[in-house]
Symmetry: C2
């Protein structure tokens, strides 16, 4: 495997990390991907209920971003009342293992982090 530059940090345009973080660093995108990774397809309302605290607006804009990035597929059924289903694309699925690693790490270290934070008096 080749060891080239990990990131070109000085140039945000060409830095994949910056670019990707700018997308998934928001409050909801990662969560939506994880929800869909757990069970799909899901309807708009089902995702909404799964996350619970997300506002309708943010769910809408987040899903649109994910769709624009080719991570989520949106299917509209010509029914009344309307039904819209969301599922992961192959690209979206390929991100899941990485996110799962993050989840695992979070589960493993959250308590310690919480303790450190409390001890430092920062929050």
């Amino acid at each position: 495997m080749r060891q080239e530059k990990i990131v070109d940090l000085a140039n945000s345009e060409n830095c994949p990390v910056r670019n990707v973080l700018d997308r998934f660093g928001d409050k909801w995108s990662t969560l939506i991907l994880l929800v869909l990774g757990r069970k799909e397809p899901l309807r708009f309302g089902a995702i909404h209920r799964s996350i619970g605290t997300i506002s309708q607006k943010m769910l809408t804009v987040s899903l649109k971003k994910l769709e624009a990035d080719g991570l989520v597929d949106r299917t509209v059924f010509a029914e009344v009342p309307p039904r819209v289903e969301y599922c992961l694309t192959e690209r979206g699925k390929s991100l899941l293992p990485v996110l799962q690693q993050l989840v695992d790490w979070a589960n493993e270290h959250m308590e310690d982090i919480r303790a450190s934070r409390a001890a430092s008096g920062v929050d």
Copy 2:
């Protein structure tokens, strides 16, 4: 069969993912960890130059958060002019492989994502 909860998404207090994302979902923390992962220890100014576009203020507050979370160690040397060195803690190092996976994924998929985004007319 009952569905196993990966994350308790409805409860942000008890959800490690939410909790961790709230910390690293910011614009700079992940970048700082990656910089230190590449080479440490680093002085304040060195990190500043490595990232380039970060403001002094944001570097300061981000480092303080990472320190409070026990991911980064801060060492002050009693010299004139002052020297402060930062390095990763064991906990911080344990996050690196996960972040590296994210970097790898980003490198691999960024061009496609960029293309999808452009095609969708969103940005």
